[in-house]
């Protein structure tokens, strides 16, 4: 079982490793945006010393982490399952003696590993060469960060999976996904750290699952969550990951029923 999972992950990894050109182009884009956003945030710190528990260095570090994590987490733009539902191929998939959700999750983890290495690390390293960024000294923080990123990937996958399932019911599944994309991009702290949000908005952001996808790992890296708080953050992520996965299974079952009854 685990062996199968590993093989699927490897496959997921390989599918993206096959296009090195696209990867390097992506690194270029991430890096360019990293510079743009970093300068924008630094402009804020010309006026103030700190925003929440962020100082200038935190903000810049945040920028480069967010850019590095963009493809690793893959918040939106993934429609593989929806495409298979649309084309009808999903019927054959569902007949295989595999757990459908698990099948895609395993591949996504492999993909995330590739993107973490080749689209996560390079922009951060490039950014670190130009800007003063924070790198944690404590190995426990690194460990927690890795755990957090993994949970973030799972959460993001569960969310994407859910939205792909909309294809069972909607012709224009992409359109439906736009709202989710909007929400997830903004409320994950991808554009501006949640710490910058006005209080009421920040509360809303943390109530949604998106913060668990991007903001949480960054908070851990920056050392803003320690000890019990850190565990709490990881637990929050685990909660969202689990909840969204379960929801995904329920929706999938409903979709399968529809397929069987109506022939898709």
């Amino acid at each position: 079982m685990l062996r199968l999972g590993f093989e699927l992950a490897r496959r997921g990894y390989g599918r993206y490793a096959a296009y090195p050109g696209a990867t390097w182009a992506g690194v270029f884009t991430n890096t360019f945006f990293g510079f743009l956003i970093a300068y924008t945030l630094l402009a804020v710190f010309e006026q103030r010393d700190a925003v929440g528990d962020y100082d200038a260095r935190d903000a810049v570090t945040y920028t480069w982490l967010a850019q590095g994590m963009l493809m690793t987490i893959y918040l939106w733009g993934w429609f593989e399952v929806a495409l298979r539902v649309r084309s009808g191929d999903v019927a054959t998939d569902l007949q295989r003696p595999l757990d459908f959700q698990g099948y895609w999750l395993a591949q996504d983890l492999g993909r995330a590993a590739y993107h973490a290495l080749f689209r996560g690390v390079p922009p951060f390293v490039l950014g670190a060469l130009v800007f003063d960024v924070l790198v944690p000294g404590n190995p426990l923080v690194w460990l927690a960060f890795l755990a957090s990123v993994t949970l973030a990937v799972v959460t993001s996958f569960a969310f994407r999976f859910l939205f792909n399932l909309a294809a069972f019911w909607l012709l224009d599944y992409r359109g439906a996904g736009v709202l989710a994309m909007v929400a997830s991009t903004f409320f994950s702290g991808q554009i501006v750290p949640i710490a910058f949000f006005p209080h009421w908005l920040a509360v809303l952001a943390w109530a949604l699952p998106f913060a668990a996808m991007v903001q949480a790992p960054i908070e851990i890296w920056l050392g803003h969550a320690e000890g019990l708080e850190l565990l709490g953050l990881l637990a929050l992520q685990a909660f969202w990951a689990g909840a969204l996965l379960l929801l995904g299974r329920a929706v999938l079952a409903a979709g399968m029923r529809k397929l069987v009854i109506q022939g898709g």
Binding site: F28, A43, V44, T185, F196
Partner: protein, 267 residues
């Protein structure tokens, strides 16, 4: 030339007709697009929730930059956004089909489809531009009033030129087309902010190499009668149209060279 645009108009008209067939879906898509593109401005508002000025530009002034940039970019996206499909077209042989027709290749690529959903960004940009223009402290003269319009027209040419030139990369490196995103979508983002907040190398890049500063920054300096913190000559504030022409010309050269090379080397 007139014929060319007549054909463009026709292709676009059929596309519009076919997209409008699904009214509800279309409306939702546009609405979704408005929301999505508003995120950029939402981010600006969030930043201004913490400070009064970015690089000594107030929120109304930044909104002006944003409005001009957004409207220009939206119009460009509608006009030439199809260039993003170029790698796929090359890969699937559709570009060869284009070469067999008695019409310019660039025209055929950009008129292949028209994504009306980009109207969402346009709408959002116009609203914010309108609000900005009514709230900025400006001593309005005819010249200052005309400048936003000039900036938008020049902006479209500059963005379009950048888009065309960088999309042509697809003829050399099929996989790496995403590089162009850095300068098209990234360019749009850049033009939403005052150039003086960027690091020196980036400032130089967007003024002298990929002249995004001429889309919104310099025209806005003129409208607002703001002293340029970078200390550059004020003549630059009127240079947008000239820059636009130069960029368009350069883009045309890049495109034709790229197609010529494609025809020599195959795919």
């Amino acid at each position: 030339m007139v014929e060319t645009f007549a054909i463009y108009r026709r292709i676009v008209a059929s596309r519009i007709r076919s997209q409008l067939q699904y009214r509800l879906s279309f409306a939702l898509t546009v609405a979704g697009n408005v929301l999505l593109t508003s995120l950029d401005f939402a981010a600006i508002l969030v930043l201004f929730g913490q400070v009064d000025a970015l690089g000594e530009w107030t929120v109304e002034e930044v909104a002006l930059l944003y409005g001009i940039s957004c409207v220009s970019f939206a119009l460009t996206d509608i006009a030439v956004g199809q260039l993003d499909q170029l790698p796929r077209m090359i890969r699937e042989g559709e570009f060869d089909q284009i070469l067999v027709r008695p019409l310019g290749s660039l025209l055929q690529v950009v008129s292949a489809d028209l994504a009306l959903r980009h109207l969402g960004r346009l709408l959002q940009g116009l609203i914010i531009l309108g609000v900005a223009l009514t709230h900025v402290e400006v001593d309005w003269t005819p010249g200052r009033a005309a400048m936003p319009l000039v900036a938008i027209v020049a902006g479209v040419a500059i963005f379009a030129g950048i888009w065309v030139a960088f999309s042509a990369i697809a003829f050399w490196l099929i996989d790496s087309q995403e590089v162009s995103n850095a300068f098209t979508y990234g360019g749009s983002f850049t033009a939403q902010y005052p150039v003086n907040i960027f690091g020196r190398w980036l400032r130089r890049l967007v003024i002298f190499v990929i002249p995004l500063a001429f889309v919104s920054y310099f025209p806005a300096l003129y409208v607002l009668d703001k002293p340029d913190q970078l200390g550059l000559p004020s003549a630059l504030q009127f240079a947008s149209p000239a820059v636009a022409v130069a960029v368009a010309a350069a883009a045309w050269v890049v495109w034709t060279t790229a197609v010529r090379r494609y025809r020599s080397v195959g795919s």
